[in-house]
Amino acid sequence: QQQVKQSPQSLIVQKGGISIINCAYENTAFDYFPWYQQFPGKGPALLIAIRPDVSEKKEGRFTISFNKSAKQFSLHIMDSQPGDSATYFCAARKDDKIIFGKGTRLHILP
């Protein structure tokens, strides 16, 4: 049973455009929802995170939108740049265990 469902699997966006990645979860016990960025050959790095009592969090060009009633959350990357090309994972935490989505491979066209 996949606890965190992520889509799309891959995404191509023009430079300067908005990249949107969506995630859904089932377990209402999750208490923290981080997004990770992973470049080839590297471990995942925390990008931005949100708690379920907040509907939106913005850090620079990155915004998380959180819909608790729908059990969905999304990452928006504004003004996408070629350097943003990476794999992005949404995740959810319960009891100090992080459950990852399957990832989205993002490619920003120059």
């Binding site: 992520q6 923290y32 471990g43 995170a49 100090d96 265990k97 992080i98 990852f100 399957k102």
Partner: protein, 113 residues
């Protein structure tokens, strides 16, 4: 400061052999986590240490997998009688306390022939 380091970066072994993967957490971090990442998938939790003890080992797939952290710092993931299905990237992460941000190492890519 130095981040999480993992050695070796790559390990190729034959089916049935024993392997050890090492993780050096960020100095002073009390919590340490092991994850396994298969190609095209997200990391999957294996085991979590708080200090020297395994607080949660529910993600270990079977009894061929074992991990230790004898002095509360360096950890070793041990895999006995390796199988081809064990081929994956093994990631280690550490945090300054449980429920704090986890910092990941670069991983060890294990290939079982």
């Amino acid at each position: 400061g130095a981040g999480v380091s993992q050695t070796p970066s790559n390990k190729v072994t034959e089916k049935g052999k024993y392997v050890e993967l090492r993780c050096d957490p960020i100095s002073g971090h009390t919590a340490l986590y092991w994850y396994r990442q298969s190609l095209g998938q997200g990391p999957e939790f294996l085991i979590y240490f708080q200090g020297t003890g395994a607080a949660d080992d529910s993600g270990l797939p079977n009894d061929r997998f074992f991990a230790v952290r004898p002095e509360g710092s360096v950890s070793t993931l041990k895999i006995q009688r390796t199988e081809r299905g064990d081929s994956a990237m093994y990631l280690c992460a550490s945090s300054s306390a449980n429920y704090n941000e986890q910092f990941f190492g670069p991983g060890t890519r294990l290939t079982v022939l």
